[in-house]
Amino acid sequence: MSVPALEISDLHAWYGESHILHGINLSVQKGQVLTLLGRNGAGRTTTLRAIMGLTGSRKGSIKVHGSETIAMATHRIAHLGLGYCPEERGIFASLTTEENLHLPPRLSGGRATPMSDAQIYQMFPNLAERRHSPGTRLSGGEQQMLAVARILRTGADILLLDEISEGLAPVIVQTLARMITTLKGQGFTIVMVEQNFRFAAPLADHFVVVEHGEVVESFAAAELPAKQAKLDELLSV
């Protein structure tokens, strides 16, 4: 097998004093979609943030296209070709929609073809309309689109998407699903955090269940039916 796009082993992370991740292990092949499942507060968001170097402190190993990033500064990690769409969306209030869109720079190490503005506006016509209004005046759904759209312009080939379907109308969720399928077809590697199983199930090649900051289950899409019962138990409230 070739070098995985993303390979994480024994990852620990802290917020201040709380020890959130207790040794996460996972790996994603290029062009794959991996979905992180788990209950609220299980540590999925934290996993994504740790990959980007945004947690308080972290230990272990995170390799992006084979290069170790555990000691790297956040902006350098990004330049290896990572695009991060945070759970809280991170739309900047003092920037217009377009400025928000243009904020992330082209990544030097990005391997994907950056999308043009035209392509993006074609994919999300709403954004074209609201181009000049302040970022946080957009509706929740539009903000979500903007948050995803802006990392497609950068040439990032590994996308970290945190609950992008959250709070969106079904039509938009469908748009996003189509988009992810398209991106996958174009060779993007995608790590998703999802609550919405119906959204995630058909897209993912691989599932990882996180519980209390540890990976408790990891299986390929094909194994899904077999794992269903286990999954119910893990995700039940």
Binding site: H19, N40, T136, R198, V237
Partner: protein, 256 residues
Amino acid sequence: MSELILETRGLSKDFKGFTAVDGVNLRVQRGAIHALIGPNGAGKTTCFNLLTKFLEPTRGSIHFNGVDITGEKPAEIARRGVIRSFQISAVFPHLTVLENVRIGLQRFTGTSFHFWKGLTGLKQLDARVLALLELVDLRDMATLKAGDLPYGRKRALEIATTMAMEPTLMLLDEPTQGMGHEDVDRVTALIKRVAEGRTVLMVEHNMKVVSKIADRITVLARGAVLAEGDYAEVSRHPAVLEAYMGSEAAELQGAH
């Protein structure tokens, strides 16, 4: 006295055009353990901040024991017996465990502005403090600096300090967050124990905890109340499943 200890009417908070809490009517029964749940960013902490006036509500009113307390200052509300804990642990790190709790008790002595007095007057509180520490299994750590405690023990200390205030209403923001399994169980039991004779309103993500001790649950989503009821009702509520617990998960589970 009415059965409702706390009631909000149309409570709302806007942040620069974004509504974090939107017309919430919360009704907390006296003597209940009431849980506030909801997805991240639903406005739970903001709600707490409004109730304790750490934030100024944009609209709506807050009634405590039938009295409108919307216009009061945070410290006044606290003096009414509405005591909160914080999502991120809030102890006084350089004070000892004992002193941490005593700060709470001290307010009742009326000597807090007495800068010319010694501490001997406060020593008489120590017995009470130790009793409270006993309650949370912290008695043998009384002389340690609070900052040196393990995380879970800090949360326990926070609860003890809150208890010291003889609160009629305790607001606990994610009391089990960032804890290991044993700690979670301990704190759950602790809450159950201290809730006797008072009212608890808590924010909690851990459904195990909620299902075990909550008498009543309000589900918040996008700043508004989505559902209310006991655990069985709420966990069956379709909108809640959709917005919080995940619809598919429920479907897969079948009717829970």
